[in-house]
Point group: C2
Chain length 198, copies 2
């Protein structure tokens, strides 16, 4: 096996097995066997099982950096909020394991939570809250809005839609072709609410 | 140890250990040792480790039945939706392990997901969607509202607030004393949105 392939294979196997069983539920032997690599390759590339896990976490949360670009692109606060919804859907579509690491670290944090998980999540919420606060100061959003709690509400709406899929897919009948409709629906709820105009 | 105490102790220990490590990450021996009971007591009360796990899941999700009462009490659709927010906060406050079982079963379902987890979650969303649909038909809510997706949005807002706590508590500075404020804020976002009145 070419060396770069071996590293990539260990990352792939690590992502799947850690997602299914957590850091403590997988042994070095299982990882090396599943990757078709010797145990020493884990030490060579990652130092240890923990090193592989932290590399996997970093890769999972690397996409969170893109929120900065979305903020730059969006001219108006509303465009940024809608861009955030679209981007979050794409993250879940392109990465089926993200929600597992995300929720398992939030409910059962490992030693890597504080450095690799909390900062990217906190950063996204902070940027959304800043954008909402900007809109509030410009008079576009209601004066009584708590920007951080509103940012969490927006993140919650769209993340939970994907988190709950297994329990709710028979109710929603949602397909990826309808993702853009979902962006529109959730942007409308977040900005205008569900009450009919008087 | 009195027998009823032994069963309760196994449930408590099982709840904590399964929450931390999942069904497959805990052995019968660890469970019995942590509960100060013999292995045969697990067989006696629960049949097997899997039986104990399914009893724990049933207990965790038993509170989901209360959504029916909330629907009965609330005269108006809006009162039911607000009652749902308050009830969800109380569930998380009174049960620190609920989100672990909830998210681990949704992202890594066990054999018990289909019978013990999906039905209570689906039932809550179905009732919220029915209430929203009622309000829509009465002209109280916007005609374009997709009731199921809106129900998921409401559930997502409030569940994610608690799910994300470890990563966002420094941003929110939220204490239980402010829970009623949070109910008001999230009810306002869901019904009126964040845009300022024209």
């Amino acid at each position: 096996m070419v060396k770069a392939d071996c590293r990539r294979r260990l990352m792939e196997v690590g992502t799947r097995l850690f997602a299914e069983r957590g850091l403590h539920g997988v042994s070095v032997r299982e990882l090396s066997r599943a990757a078709g690599a010797s145990i020493s390759m884990i030490s060579y590339y990652f130092g240890s099982k923990e090193g592989l896990y932290s590399s996997v976490l970093q890769e999972q949360f690397a996409c969170f950096d893109q929120i900065g670009d979305i903020r730059q692109q969006g001219a108006s606060p509303l465009a940024v909020l809608e861009g955030y919804l679209r981007w979050t859907i794409q993250r879940h579509r392109s990465n089926p394991y993200l929600l597992r690491f995300y929720t398992s670290e939030l409910t059962n944090p490992t030693a890597y939570f504080a450095t690799l998980v909390a900062p990217p999540i906190g950063n996204v919420i902070k940027i959304l809250a800043d954008v909402i606060e900007e809109g509030r100061q410009q008079g576009q959003f209601r004066p009584g809005i708590n920007a951080v709690n509103a940012a969490l509400a927006l993140a919650g709406m769209i993340n939970y839609f994907f988190l709950s899929t297994l329990a709710t897919e028979s109710l929603t009948n949602h397909s990826p072709a309808q993702d853009e409709q979902l962006v529109g629906q959730y942007a409308a709820i977040f900005t205008q609410g569900i009450i009919a105009a008087p």
